[in-house]
Amino acid sequence: MTAMVKAEGVHKSYGAAHILKGIDLEVAPREVFCLIGPSGSGKSTFLRCINHLEKINAGRLWVDGELVGYRQKGDKLYELKDSEVALQRRDIGMVFQRFNLFPHMTAVENVMEAPIQVKGEAKAVARERALKLLDRVGLGDKAGNYPSQLSGGQQQRVAIARALAMEPKLMLFDEPTSALDPELVGDVLDVMRGLAEDGMTMVVVTHEMGFAREVGDNLVFMDGGVVVESGNPRDVLTNPQHDRTKAFLSKVL
């Protein structure tokens, strides 16, 4: 089986700042893959490389066997056109730390938008599916509310429904609970847990060690732009091998 995400020697720098210094990893289909690490370790940057929101400077990155952002002919690499990148992104859902819901649209309009605009789905069909998705994240009764009328946890669940509406084969979560009040975190994690059970492939940048331990199939600890340690979340979290991992976990657990 081809890996859902495969990274080989991925480097990323902004000017002089070298953020990613050679990332190699593989995410299998139906796997929940957690990325942890201190802030500035490059985990969010790596996540954003997967759907080409950031361009990588070196290495190769594949999603479902397809090179991200480039086309290779012989040993020459061609940049993809914006429209081709958009085509790749259709299959990759992303959930942001700050939700990034469209504030001028209601919850259900947020969820309908991409299927209508990108896939050309009929409005009625899109609405029906959007309502079902909102039901699934427990917000069936909030369909007509604007994001500003929803709590952070509710907004994040709408954002998850919006990403699911494109029926992605891979979901990226960029610290989905970091901007939430503690009592709202559980709601969002429950939705993510449900997604994992349904077999969605998920790459999750998180500080929720409990979630990583319970739901994660694989865990990577990043620091300073490199993968320091990886393996089964239970093993890594309870019995870290590397000093930097130990130091980090002693601070967050």
Binding site: I92, F96, N100, T106, V137, R162, V191
Partner: protein, 319 residues
């Protein structure tokens, strides 16, 4: 994926706690009955302003103004036609300005250095010269290009450049430069996360701009645009200098033949005030429309506000 994790039922939206009931249950404390502070200064300043106002009214009543002429000509056909022309030229110039504004704002923000520089040059020229001068430039275009020749169309420039076209080009192109800056500020005010979220959903650059960025930018764009339009409505009086029969020109035409110059200027002022008032109300409703989603509760409409104010007058303490 294993199934050993029990999926808890989809979470409920948070419900209000019962704490609020307790507070309402407590008995009302005794109301404070104190003698309010007397604001003598307000009474004095109010009286002074009233006296000055009365003096001004008296002065105008004494002035040599033929009031009957004003009422006679207020709804004169030529005045109405002039007012209509003013509206037409203002609305059309604004539309041109709006389209040009969006185009040049996007050009300025584009990564292409050529379009960026051209947009900068356009804004630099049309914002940097007085609109009156620009109108005169269009008006006298025939002096340097006597013949208009654009391949499939050829004509005398003086025939092409009718007063209407001169006014339209002069006001529209000038307005476009101002609108470009307003639109640019609006687009830049939209959070970058919005573009990212839209791109992550697979939406193209064009759709992201049209469906996500511009509707949100509108909230920032609309208020200054309303001001621009009201400004334009007044600035349009300059087009009387290029022979376009707008409201001011219609009024002065009558004024110079009937020796009622001041009276006709008052007539024009009344119409300008009426027009700007009507468009101010319209602006309010447009702003309200684009504020949806960004405010938890939309502000009251003017009529709702009048009703609240009436209620406030009935109970002066505003309770």
């Amino acid at each position: 994926m294993t199934d050993k994790f029990d999926k808890t039922p989809a979470d409920e939206p948070p419900t209000g706690s019962s704490a609020s009931k307790e507070t309402t249950a407590t008995a009302h404390p005794e109301q404070i009955k104190a003698i309010p502070v007397r604001h003598y200064g307000r009474w004095v300043s109010g009286a002074v302003v009233l006296v000055l106002l009365g003096w001004l009214a008296f002065a105008f009543a004494q002035g040599d103004i033929r009031w009957a002429t004003i009422t006679d000509y207020l709804f004169d056909g030529r005045i109405l036609q002039g007012a209509l022309n003013t509206i037409i030229i203002s609305v059309l110039s604004m539309l041109i300005g709006l389209v040009l504004g969006i185009v040049f704002a996007v050009m300025r923000l584009s990564k292409n250095p050529v379009t960026g520089a051209v947009a900068w040059l356009y804004i630099w020229f049309f914002r940097g010269t007085p609109v009156y001068v620009q109108l005169l430039l269009w008006f006298n275009l025939a002096l340097i290009f006597p013949i208009l020749n654009i391949g499939f169309y050829k004509d005398e420039m003086v025939d092409v450049m009718t007063p209407f076209l001169v006014a339209l080009l002069g006001l529209g192109l000038n307005e476009g430069a101002y609108m470009a800056e307003i639109v640019r500020a609006g687009i830049q005010s939209v959070d970058e996360g919005q573009t990212e979220a839209s791109h992550a959903l697979g939406m193209s650059n064009g759709k992201t701009m049209r469906r996500v960025v511009l509707p949100q930018a509108m909230r920032v764009i609309v208020p200054p645009t309303g001001n621009e339009f009201i400004n334009l409505l007044k600035t349009s009086s300059l087009v009387s200098a290029v022979q376009y029969t707008d409201l001011l020109r219609a009024a002065t035409n009558i004024g110079s033949t009937s020796f009622a110059i001041m009276e006709m200027l008052i007539v024009a002022s009344i119409w300008y005030l009426a027009l700007t008032s009507v468009f101010s109300v319209g602006q309010y409703y447009v702003e309200r429309y684009y504020a949806r989603g960004s405010l938890r509760q939309l502000p009251p409409t003017p009529w709702q506000r009048v009703k609240t104010n009436l209620r406030f007058l009935q109970s002066p303490r505003g309770v």
